[in-house]
Amino acid sequence: MLPLNTFDENKSVAEAFRSHGIPDEQIYFAFREDLTCDGNFGEEWLAIDQEANHLYRYSVSSQVFDVFDLKDLERPYIDNYTTSNRLLAYVKDENGNDQTIVLGACTNACKRKLTAFLNLWDRVTKDLKIENDDHIFDQFNAKCPKCGTVYPDQQRRICEVCAKKKGMLVRLLSYFGDFKWHFIVVLLCLIMTSAISLASPIISGQILYDQVITAPGVTSDGSAVGTMHEVKYVFVFVGLLFGLALLQLLIGIVQGRCNAHMSTRVTKRMRDDIFTALSKLSLSYFNKNSTGRLINRVNYDAIKIRSFYIDGVPALIIHSLNFIGLTIFLFSINWQLTLIVFVPIPIIVILFRRMLPKFWRSFSKLWRRSSSMNGMLADTLNGARVVKAFSKEAEETNRFHKYATGLYGANMNVNKIAIMIFPVVSLLIGLSAQAIWGFGGIKVIGKEMTWGQMTTYLGYLGMIFGPLGFFSTFTNLITDTINSASRMFETLDQIPEITDSPDAVAFDSFQGDIEFSHVSFHYNPSNPILKDISFKIHPGDNVGVVGHTGSGKSTIANLITRMYDTVSGTVYIDGTDIKNIKQQSLRRNIAIVSQEIYLFAGTIADNIRYSRPEASMKEIIEAARAANAHDFIMQLPEGYETQVGSGSRSLSGGERQRISIARALLLQPSILILDEATAAMDNETERLISEAIDKLVVGKTTITVAHRLSTLHNCNVIMAVENGEVVEMGSPKELMEKKGDYYKLYTLQNDQLQQVMAGN
């Protein structure tokens, strides 16, 4: 059996086939589907026998076994749906009319195999022999681009070797690794702060009041009071309290400085890491993730994580220390009173627990609303031209108003809940304070407790609710941080889809021979773009590509430059699979002027130089001249130093195109691809550029995508792309004779021209 799916995966299938008189050896290749024909999840098998006479279908769940005569099944095809796919074929009914039947269905998980199955089917009906090492099976032996291990599950390409192993918190802490000393200092500061706040009530209550202010005497349990009943001690202890307060302030400053030092650097490092990771990723990642989200990741998530370590962790430490210290002190002074204090704690905890999720939910709603308002703002401001062109200012203002109202509502919600919780909490605290006054008062009168002990008590009571409030929000702080951290690591761990293979070769330049061999490609599985295309371009060819918009011309250009990898099939340059050519060599030797032009913020010279930063001024000017950009650049007040790029819109579409052509020419590429690069220019300018380019790239391979045939006037090969397939390829003369798509285009444009000439 060919290595597509084999019965080893499910022995019961082999059993079922055998019970229908078909031994394993008789099966040529088989395919396992994950949907049944009626569209539910379930296992079904399709198989074709060695003689290519029959197609068998076996449903594991219903155990139904069907046999089709392969000859009866005509023109099989796949319906690609959004998330599922169906294999269909025509059969003839009794009147000899075509009738479509469903042979099988699968989700996107087995889509590649379905496509391969159809391809194999097509080949066996043509009596082609297929070997186990056929190229079509390569895609099912994919390796992790990072470490080279073959994926254990080919459908879900997860590399367990490269997957992250370290826990998230450990990884996060590693960012603070270089700041050990800062961390220790902060920790010491925290411990001291906690000690001081715990000591202060004791000094003011049990020492200053009981031993200094109170007249000498003995309490009911026999301990002495008023032992330091002198004025000088008042000064000593008040001074001590003052000193402690001052010390606490100093510690706060030290801690703040350490934090600031650490946090700015840690955030910077995280941002650097995220940005580096992002810039390594392939285009497809940027297609899937909106720019806004990525920017948010670089900005917001790093801050969030930092604030957890800078604010969250210290608060956790200090509150824990305080809480433990407090409990010990309170119990040691008077356990009965302590119990009274602790009575409201469960109530408060329950209250926090019940209310806070609501609070957090409203809070995250608030966050979402504010980010969608920002998104709307950015969108409108970027599209200011369109807004004005359709005079939609009032509508946009209304729309903004709606977002702002939404935000206001979310804000109100958060505040309402906050307003609910906190008065209740302070009421409870007030009640316990009164209880202490009551019970404590009785005890003080009964001399079971000193007045100083009671003030200490009241002091501590105020401190105990801080940790409580903090602990109940802390879990949310943690989830929030974990969310941010996982988003950050998600980006950091993303493996670029396109990487150099270990044995990739470097090329100084290319001959310019390009070959597509059975290339299929899609951006997302539901929408196949290129369908099994093959063609060859010889060195020095000047190829013109025509075809309707959306037919896949730019996609072909993207594959030549390996912006994406093919789904199946191979692209060769100079006979070498481009997966085995160093990306650096590809980028260095293939220049593409794409349809979507992007000029970076900077000068015109910077933008031209972008492709080859070491180029001299002279070379830049030559490239600009070839692109017919020199003249208009010289007309600008600041010449080559004119600022362009995001924000400045002073250049016309054609001017921007010419700058990007100059950028491509400066690279002195072996292969030049112009993807509708002159579409925004008048015919004369276009002609001038194309002549200049021809001079520059003699003997180099050029691929020109265009709609106007005039652009293609000196192409020696024309390729017509339609619906993801190369429908025609040959010299312009051959294609004219063939009367196909190219002929249509020619006739149409010629006809229009004649009509214009005739004056109607």
């Binding site: 539910n40 479509t100 039947i101 989700t107 459908q155 879900r156 149409l748």
Partner: protein
Amino acid sequence: MEEVELESLFERRESVRLTQENAVFSKSPGGLISLTLRHPESDKPDEFFERVIPLRGFPITDPEQFISIREPDTKEKGRGAEIGLIYDMKEFDQATQELIRAELDRHYFTPELLKIYSVKEKFGYLYFEAETSAGPTSFVLNNPYSNFRTFDDERIFIYDIDGNCFQISHPEKLDKASYRRIEIYL
């Protein structure tokens, strides 16, 4: 160039509004949809399409309106041309509605998650075991934070690593245990 030839080169069929009056949908022997298109206004003969494909114009917010009826996308036919547009499914009888809806549901295969048995995290990937409206299944998510999509009406779409999509139309109706398993990703 002769005019006639040019005209025929650019022939394209005109899409019409489909109603009970001009469109008769039927189930083909292969279980798919066939269409007989009448031309009441002109004397053109009826057209028969052995197989047509319905597509939704607004699959997320308005699945029952603006259904495009097209020819299949096959090698010989090219991208399926639009035969006509159904403005509202309600304009057709119950049987037709069901026929088309079944095919649409097949096309926009988005099983409803009824129960989530388990969600396991391993090396940053989430492994789901769940009961869906299309039977039990398991699927894997990479990047969970980017692959949950919440709509204004609270509906949740979950996109898995293979490009399949699952939905939860009423998160509040999901049992507590299932909801808790996905809560943190929302």
